[in-house]
């Protein structure tokens, strides 16, 4: 029976490696069992896969690895509920299901020759990591790069072992902030919600593409701050999150106004969504 042309049926993938990022976040390195599929598979940063944990269900998860690396696919996942918990119980070598990639990714093409400002909160850095790796790999194609990244505590920061590497890249500026610092942890950076970093930011509206992903409340405040600083609605890109059951523009759950987050997004230029009634209040 041919399973291939059935969009709902996932491909089998093997967990090659599990890396612990924080208490409740792991990064999973996956490869398709079908070698040909692995070779054919390509994605853009910001796109996502539907991951099936057999016996438990399916969840949309952004791809966090380098789009140019065709040998493996990474997902960085926070443990929050049924499916993600089940994923955390899997071990290296075990099998899960994967289908995708779905959706529209980050505007890396539009950003060519321009400055990039990334504003990320918590797990929201995961879908933005492909942007960072791409900019580093193709450094000459982009101008200045600035990352504002916030997490709840220092211990909740993702990809910290890559920070050193990122710091060293030419014309890269990284600003970190946490909401709070527990007594036993050291922290040399800003304390406060991400938006408090805007005062230290060097990016200006001129020739800049902004990409933001994080909790909706964070994105709301970031948006306000950006608009107040003169950024316009077509240079700001947000990655939205909605409930998804299929990723195929069928189940209806991810609609916001006329948009399907799964196929029109998850990355949207603010200009495209700002008039949607459910989002109007963000301004």
């Amino acid at each position: 029976m041919s399973v291939r042309n059935n969009a709902y049926v996932p491909e089998m993938a093997t967990i090659e490696k599990i890396e612990r990022e924080t208490n409740d976040v792991n990064t999973y390195t996956l490869t398709f069992k079908d070698k040909a599929k692995q070779k054919d598979y390509s994605f853009a940063g910001g796109q996502f896969n539907m991951l099936s944990i057999f016996g438990f269900g399916e969840a949309p998860i952004s791809i966090s690895s380098d789009p140019q690396d065709r040998n493996e696919i990474q997902h960085t996942v926070r443990k929050v509920g049924g499916v993600t918990e089940a994923l955390f119980n899997l071990k290296e070598g075990e099998v899960l299901g994967m289908r995708g990639p779905y959706g529209r990714g980050w505007p890396l093409k539009e950003a060519k020759g321009k400055n990039i400002l990334v504003v990320a909160g918590g797990i929201g850095l995961a879908p933005l990591r492909p942007v960072i790796t791409q900019v580093i790999k193709n450094r000459e194609e982009y101008d200045r790069f600035e990352l504002l990244y916030g997490a709840r505590t220092p211990g909740d920061m993702l990809f910290t072992d890559e920070f050193d590497h990122w710091q060293k890249v030419k014309n890269f500026r990284l600003l970190f902030s946490v909401d709070a610092v527990p007594k036993d942890q050291r922290w040399d950076h800003n304390v406060g919600v991400v938006t408090t970093l805007f005062d230290q930011m060097s990016s200006t509206p001129s020739r800049t593409i902004v990409m933001t992903c994080g909790p909706e409340i964070m994105m709301k405040f970031a948006l306000k701050a950006l608009l107040a600083r003169g950024f316009n609605s077509s240079q700001i890109f947000l990655s939205l999150e909605r409930r998804m059951e299929c990723g195929l523009k069928k189940c209806g759950h991810c609609q916001i106004g006329e948009k399907y987050v799964c196929s029109d997004g998850p990355v949207f230029p603010w200009a495209e969504i700002k008039d949607i009634p459910e989002i109007v209040g963000w301004k």
């Binding site: 029976m1 042309n5 059935n6 509920g81 195929l248 209806g252 106004g257």
Partner: protein
């Protein structure tokens, strides 16, 4: 070329279809009419306006297995990926009971005919076809849809709830059918809209309709059009629906709304579903299935850690009405409302989207 048949010929055509196909048509359901499988002509109901449910459930089964799989050691084998059957009708089995709501196909029943689909519902099917085609094919929907012959009728009766005329989705029909029947009083005009339709009619020796008879059809339509009492002004409706999210009519309606989901379940163009996993007492046998879902239900927009994008009843009600009368247009080039009036009729508290549209327009 439209043909003419008399009562006897129609009866024999229907008789033939009943014999050769899985034949679905309007049947009596308590006080109302619904689609049901028909084994004998006697069961067919003639005087009805709209069936309780739209025909969408014949393609989008309320609950349906997507695939089953077996988990043995490290191996996972997907064992069933596509249902080859038709959606079951009537008393559907409940969620976890043995059978799933799909009937296996046998012999000639591979094809089904739905008789008596009214023009508004034909448009509904046309819109659903798009949803389940666009970007990704939905094989479950399509496998049932592709095996279906649509036998439509020109409307001659109008209920208090009908407003298809406002959309132009009724009472007459230009395309989207395989066969179309118009009652001319003492004769029937029969038109075909597809190869399958032609083949069926081709077997019968029918005479062509005269220009006079075609005029008669126009007169029938005109007479029906005069019967409409309900109207929806569709001018600028896309903007009007979203122009005033704070208008008091929203709160007024939301206070009455029971979040029962009846409106979405009877709507011919509501297509949302949920996907769930289901197990067995032998935990290596699993199944992924989908089941009908509605934006009116609290859990619809629920995400992990208790988040919910539409916790308030009012936001869910807005989603339904705005989706139908505004968002769907940029999405699919169609307003996902065909004017069948079912959502108004079956809302326990008579919430009426034509009324909301009027309020928003300030009429």
């Amino acid at each position: 070329m439209p043909k003419i048949m008399d009562e006897k010929e129609l009866q024999s055509l229907l008789g033939l279809l009943i014999k050769e196909y899985r034949f679905i048509g309007p049947v009596r359901k308590d006080l109302e009419t619904g689609f049901g499988e028909i084994k004998s002509l006697k069961e067919l109901v003639k005087d009805y306006t709209n069936t309780i449910e739209p025909p969408k459930y014949l393609f989008l089964t309320p609950q349906e297995t997507l695939f089953s799989y077996e988990m043995k050691k490290e191996e996972i084998t997907i064992t069933k990926t596509e249902e080859q059957g038709h959606a079951a009708l009537g008393d559907r089995p409940s969620l976890w009971s043995e059978g799933i709501a799909v009937e296996p196909l046998q012999g000639k029943a591979i094809q089904q005919v739905i008789f008596g689909v009214r023009p508004c519902d034909v448009h509904g099917i046309r819109m659903m076809d798009k949803v389940f085609k666009e970007d990704f094919d939905d094989t479950y929907y399509q496998s049932k849809r592709n095996k279906t012959i649509i036998f439509s009728v020109t409307c001659t009766s109008v209920s208090d709830y009908c407003f298809c005329q406002s959309w132009g989705t009724g009472p007459s029909l230009k395309d989207g059918f395989d066969l179309l029947l118009t009652d001319l009083g003492d004769r029937y005009l029969i038109e075909t809209g597809s190869k399958e339709g032609n083949e069926i009619i081709g077997k019968m020796r029918l005479r062509d309709a005269t220009p006079m008879e075609l005029k008669q059809k126009a007169a029938v339509i005109k007479a029906t059009e005069a019967k409409f009492t309900r109207k929806l002004n569709i001018k600028d409706i896309q903007q009007i629906m979203i122009s005033q999210p704070e208008h008091p009519t929203w709160k007024d309606k939301a206070d009455r709304c029971l979040s029962c989901g009846n409106c979405t379940s009877v709507c011919p163009t509501c297509y949302c579903f949920d996907v769930q996993e289901k197990g067995d007492y032998n935990p290596s046998n699993m199944e992924r299935y989908r089941l009908w879902d509605s934006c009116q239900l609290l859990e619809y927009s629920q995400v992990a850690l208790g988040g919910n994008f539409r916790r308030e009843r009012i936001s869910r009600l807005k989603q339904f009405m705005m989706h139908k009368l505004s968002f769907s247009y940029p999405q699919y080039g169609d307003f996902h409302c065909v004017g069948c009036g079912r959502c108004i009729k079956w809302c326990p508290t008579s919430i009426d989207l034509t009324e909301v549209a009027k309020d928003l327009r300030g009429e």
